[in-house]
């Protein structure tokens, strides 16, 4: 039963991203939905994927989002509409709970035999799938250079000259 509470909190995070007026509340909703997505993955047995999601998403990408929104977003955004967000969340949760009534099989949740599935499928990435690892690393290098060139534009000085 607690698992379904965590799934509804995942839905709350996503309605916060979708419906909030201010992008700061949307970033909070993205953090909440990725956190409870990690909880959902852990209870299915994919603990390593949950760790990856937490580290890379919350520890990497959302930090980059926070810094670049401090650099470029509005300083005084509009007042939030949290009441409407909660109303939309309640509507969506009633829709999910009372139309889709099949619960998961109890053998898939908290299964003690499955927590090595993600590790054993990731090890292929280093062995036979070495080309995928190389291409992924090269893509990250290209995107690093792209981000630097795009955000600097044509000036040779520091980024913000206030």
């Amino acid at each position: 039963m607690v698992f379904y509470l965590f799934m509804l909190l995942l839905l709350l995070g996503s309605t916060l991203v979708f419906y909030s007026l201010s992008p700061y509340y949307a970033a909070l909703g993205l953090m909440i939905s990725s956190l409870f997505g990690c909880v959902v993955l852990t209870s299915l047995g994919l603990t390593f994927l949950a760790l990856l999601l937490l580290l890379i998403y919350m520890g990497g990408m959302l930090v980059v989002f926070v810094y670049s929104s401090a650099l470029s977003a509005d300083r005084y955004p509009m007042v939030s509409n949290l009441g409407e967000v909660v109303l939309l969340f309640l509507l969506l949760s009633f829709w999910v709970l009372f139309i889709f009534e099949d619960f998961l099989e109890s053998s898939t949740l908290f299964n003690l035999l499955s927590p090595l599935n993600d590790l054993s499928s990731l090890s292929v990435l280093y062995d036979y799938g070495g080309a995928y690892l190389l291409v992924g690393g090269l893509a990250l290098l290209v995107v690093l250079i792209v981000a630097l060139v795009v955000s600097y534009g044509s000036s040779l000085l520091a980024l913000r000259s206030l």
Binding site: L10, S14, L41, S72, T108, S114, N117, V143
Partner: protein
């Protein structure tokens, strides 16, 4: 269809609608795009764990990597736009309008 599939489907659908219908800020569009990619990651991971196809767990990790690439490219574009237009609001980015 069970409740987990319904919740993950609604995450995906909210992400798509949030990218298509966006009212105010460019940053909230990028955040809805990130929600879309997180929902894809959760969908592929849970589907492959429930149906015992372990190949696609590998793919979902690469998907996470490329979503990080896309997010950083989108954020660099947003920073560059906000430097030239001095704002983030989509209604003010209208230099190409007739």
């Amino acid at each position: 269809m069970n409740i987990l599939s319904a919740v993950l489907f609604s995450l995906f659908f909210l992400g798509i609608i949030g990218v298509v219908i966006n009212r105010l800020h460019l940053l909230s569009l990028l955040l809805c795009l990130e929600l879309l990619l997180v929902s894809l990651f959760l969908n592929i991971s849970t589907w492959s764990q429930i149906h015992d196809e372990l190949v696609y767990l590998n793919f979902s990790i690469l998907l996470l990597t490329f979503s990080a690439c896309e997010a950083s490219a989108g954020l660099a574009l947003m920073v560059s736009l906000s430097r030239s237009h001095n704002t983030d609001l989509l209604a003010n980015i209208n230099l190409l309008q007739t």
